[in-house]
């Protein structure tokens, strides 16, 4: 069915997308290849990367209703022919997604725990994050890059946490919570995710 709205726009740094329902812009520090599209600038609502290329995307990739949340020092890399639909990428340091990767609806990929684990540091973080706090001086939070290699498919509502490498050609079953590396070609499922077939 046709509607008046456009579903996709070319991903172009600095662009204001005509007819976008969200009054934002594509950030300037985005690099994208030919044929790569996005549905709305809303995907960048939580994108604060100050890196020269905070988001680098290859060719012919589709980004639809994804949240590309990036801290100041974060770099998100996405390859060619990827399909990122209705997913959240939460990046403090680095999330690297290879080529021909499908990320299905409801997926979260995060490279940090968002807050410190130790109670005193966590308490301090609530102060730093509060309306009277200084967000520039938060206690250190552990981050470890996430790598999703080529030809991986990630099912609905799966979660990939910090430090994980998902090997080439692996399949992450819907709802899996992945906290350890996934060997190439393996299928993982469950919480915590375990290998169910090689």
């Amino acid at each position: 069915m046709t509607t008046e709205t456009r579903l996709f726009y070319k991903l172009e740094p600095g662009a204001k997308l005509p007819g976008d329902w969200f009054a934002g812009r594509i950030p300037l520090n985005v690099v994208a290849g030919e044929g790569t599209v996005i549905d709305s600038s809303f995907c960048f609502k939580h994108f604060y990367s100050a890196r020269e290329a905070g988001l680098r995307v290859g060719r012919h990739t589709t980004i639809w209703r994804a949240s590309l949340a990036a801290d100041e020092g974060a770099v998100i890399e996405i390859g060619d022919y990827c399909y990122i639909a209705n997913a959240s990428l939460v990046c403090s340091e680095r999330i690297r997604i290879g080529s021909r990767v499908l990320v299905a609806g409801g997926v979260t990929i995060a490279d940090s725990d968002f807050h410190p684990l130790a109670p005193a540091a966590r308490l301090a973080d609530t102060v730093a994050l509060s309306p009277v706090g200084d967000r520039k001086r938060r206690p250190a939070v552990e981050t470890r890059p996430v790598v999703i290699e080529d030809d991986v498919w990630i099912g609905y509502n799966a979660t990939i946490l910090k430090g994980v490498t998902v090997g080439a050609g692996a399949l992450v079953a819907p709802g899996a919570l992945v906290v350890r590396d996934v060997p190439p070609g393996a299928e993982v499922a469950g919480n915590p995710a375990v290998v169910v077939s090689q």
Binding site: M1, T2, T3, E4, T5, L7, F8, G19, W21, G35, V37, D39, H60, T61, T62, W64, Y81, C82, Y83, N86, R100, L102, G105, G106, D151, W153, G155, Y156, N157, G169, A170, L171, A173, P174, G175, A176, G185, A186, E187, A189, G190, N191, V196, S197
Partner: protein, 222 residues
């Protein structure tokens, strides 16, 4: 069209615009609405591409709230029963999804009739073909990469938040799926299932009789 939703017809073939909608989209012409249906926004209809005469039917007094999304391919068709609440659910359909009366679907829950049974049924060569095809399609829809198998929710089913109901599954009348549960096999009537993979933890009393329904309509409807 439901009597209660303020809409205006737009020129493109009977698609309707919700007057209060924050999203600049439409409810497609082949979405059939029963009496007193409520839809928050057309946001969730952007990926609706059904070519059936009725690609989605929303039953009397049912509601599609918040970011409830209908990812429906050309051959997909969804029926939703009366008084059913879709509260931020994500429905992926290339064949058939049937949802009964009085169901509750919470936020982040996914119903899909199209997902491979295992990695073996989705070889890397096929994955590459699927993504290449999607990238060169104007609507960027994924082609149907697994044989759709119908998902059926009988009456009075409750699906908790972030749960996933996989292809071919039938949820029996009165059953409850706990939050974040992954359901790959049929659930018997009145069973409560939790976990990944899902397991039955108890059975509920089947007290949702026709009399109980009549009483509810008498006492709780305006």
């Amino acid at each position: 069209m439901s009597e209660n939703i303020p809409t205006e017809l737009v020129s493109n073939g009977g698609a309707r615009r919700l007057e209060y909608d924050w999203y600049p989209g439409c409810i497609p012409a082949n979405v059939r609405l029963g009496e007193h249906v409520y839809i928050d926004t057309s946001y969730g209809f952007a990926p609706f591409h059904s070519e059936h005469d009725t690609g989605l039917a929303l039953g009397d007094a049912s509601g599609a709230y918040d970011r409830t999304t209908f990812v429906v391919g050309p051959r997909g068709r969804i029926d939703v029963g009366a008084y059913t609440v879709l509260n931020g659910a994500y429905l992926v359909c290339n064949g058939r999804i049937e949802i009964g009366d009085h169901c509750l679907l919470a936020w982040g829950s996914v119903l899909t009739d199209t997902w491979p049974a295992d990695a073996g049924s989705l070889p890397v060569a096929l994955r590459r073909e699927v993504l290449r095809a999607a990238a060169h399609e104007p609507t960027r829809s994924l082609p149907v990469f697994a044989e759709p198998r119908a998902v059926v929710l009988e009456d009075n089913v409750w699906v908790g938040f972030d749960a996933v109901i996989l292809p071919g599954v039938r949820l029996g009348r009165g059953s409850v799926v706990g939050c974040k549960t992954i359901v790959a096999a049929d659930v018997p009537p009145y069973a409560v299932v939790v976990g990944s993979p899902a397991r039955v933890v108890r059975y509920l009393e089947a007290d949702d009789t026709e009399e109980a329904r009549a009483r509810a309509l008498r006492e709780y409807a305006r």
